[in-house]
Subunit: 197 residues, 4 copies
DNA sequence: CATGAATGAGAGTTCATTCAT
DNA sequence: GATGAATGAACTCTCATTCAT
């Protein structure tokens, strides 16, 4: 596959991402992607065999390019920001993602993993969740040391935060949720850590 | 619609519920329900026009019959149980539901509301969520009064609890979750309220 | 499946038979049969799932209705015809079939069994062949007893006859063969048995 | 077309022959041959326009290279072998071919001529058959002269032999046939000629 | 000459939906 | 009411064939 093909493949993935973001996973057909890309029916099959295959590559692509979390962390940490600032930053990022439904793969991702139960060690949802829990736990622990946070169970608190975020995410996709409501929850989480400070 | 028809309709809904519990929402076709009910294709159309219509009625049916929450509350409250006992009971009920994936409509419900964005005031997910938040808030407030609980923001705490439960629910459907993990989260929630100030 | 359906199924098989007779097995698509029957695409699938399934039923149908061999034998034998007359009759029947390419499933059958190797005990080609060999052997043996035939190895002779017929059949489908040529071979076979009479 | 092209064409034909031997004629696509040759799709079209064209050239190639029959005859005859020995040799060669289904084009050839009815004078199957009949007739006649064979109708006998062989061939492709069964038929044919009058 | 990306026709298959009985 | 045969739209997937490079 030449360089040109690689670019075409990237093009298809980009268009497919838009389709998945707009319509979720289950409803998307190969034809939908063909139409979005303005290519021929058979043409798509030169690159991908199924929507499943495409979606998996879109998911991987996402992690590589959309970054966000990591970048923010990396930058904030390298700038010696305080733990509470970094955590606040992280929560702000999550809020952005929560509110930006149009470009988000959240719904498609949930639909995909409803239909495709991957083993836990290969499940990116699991991996991401656990990774985030560890990072937040570290932040909280650090914050406790510096006196920014008060927390007897950093691990429990970080899991609590992540489950709340997950709850917000699914609620935003099913019942809709306002930015204000998200703010309220984030504030509650932060207050819990800053309590009695 | 005669009495016989009503019974037939209930029969269809019961069978349809099983199908939705097993296969989710999107994958279920009119044919699947016809097969499960062992009735004729045309026969189903006498009662329902689409899987969407069926699913909505299944959802309503559910609230009526499956109860659980209400019953437990009603009974516990009428028995003058303590607030902490009632809350613990509620969380135990939630755990049961979380772990009993086979009979649960969770996945189907999520899929349904991904595809059908109802206005908030008609969205049963929203209604249920808000209702539960209110009940829990009341419980916490009562518990604070009796000295069982320590909590500065009962409303915030109850919302936090509900989002965590929602987070557990979606995680249980996408990455899978052990009973132990659920226990840990519930324990964390209870400890947060019982914490000696 | 009601009586009407049975008739429709028979109708489809009849039309399918014509298609197979005209075009062989491999080239025939579900669409071809749909077109021949003037029914809808989906309609055919109510009765059959594949051309393979249809062809197998056509083959069975054939044995039931087209008769020929059995009838001729039955009649001839019941009429106390001589062995040589019966054998001659049989060979005449074979000739008819050989020359009537238009309505014959020969080519389709060969194509089918090229693609679908059935176990010998289920292979109708094998069954028919062996059955015919036995009948002919009996005829020859009887003929030898009555002095009509001279033959030291009736079993071998009957197999020889059947292989020649098979050879004529395949040649008629691949290079074409004239009635005269068939006559010549049949004559040779009969002369071999009547030799020195 | 340069020398290099000729070699490439030969290479394609060789690979195509393997494909046809393995899969018959009808199932083979241009893509299959492209894959077997490891050349580009477009590349194949520089040499051949269709599988039909390729198969015809494979058939011609076969006669040229695979020889066997001719060689055996030529050698045997030039060595002054007896007629019965040469005939036996010929039948042994036929048996080998019959039993070696894997490398044989038999099925593909039948399939091809089912689909492509060539005029008799251009039909290689016809030509080969008639050629073989003549040779065998000559052998038998010679054998009769030397007293090796007893046969009143060498032409008829040789045609009989060839039709039996054709019958064995088609049976071996459709119902399968053991080496033992082939031996039995060959023995029967030889005995017919050696039979003491 | 050679490549391989691209096209589009066409086959298979499934279902929502209708309708005569 | 109830049946289930029938229709036709829509989707998946595969190839022969072409053509710019």
């Amino acid at each position: 596959m030449g360089e040109k093909s690689v670019r075409k493949k990237q093009f298809i993935l980009k268009k497919a991402r838009e389709v998945f973001a707009e319509r979720g996973y289950k409803d998307v057909t190969m034809k939908d992607i063909v139409d979005a890309c303005q290519i021929s029916r058979g043409g798509l099959y030169l690159y991908f065999d199924s929507t499943k295959e495409i979606f998996l590559e879109v998911l991987n692509m996402k992690e590589g390019s959309e970054s966000g979390e990591e970048d923010v962390f990396t930058k904030a940490i390298s700038e010696n920001a305080s733990s509470s600032d970094i955590l606040a930053l992280f929560l702000q990022e999550q809020k952005k993602e929560l509110c930006n439904q149009a470009e988000s793969l959240t719904m498609a991702t949930y639909e995909f993993f409803f239909a495709n139960k991957l083993p836990k060690n290969e499940n990116p949802l699991k991996t991401q969740f656990d990774g985030a829990v560890q990072i937040i736990e570290k932040l909280i622990s650090d914050g406790v040391k510096t006196g920014e946070f008060v927390c007897e169970d950093p691990k429990g608190a970080s899991r609590n935060i992540m489950y709340v975020l997950e709850g917000l995410r699914i609620m935003s996709q099913t019942v809709g949720i306002t930015e204000k409501a998200v703010n309220k929850e984030i504030l509650y989480l932060m207050k819990g850590l800053l309590k009695e400070a």
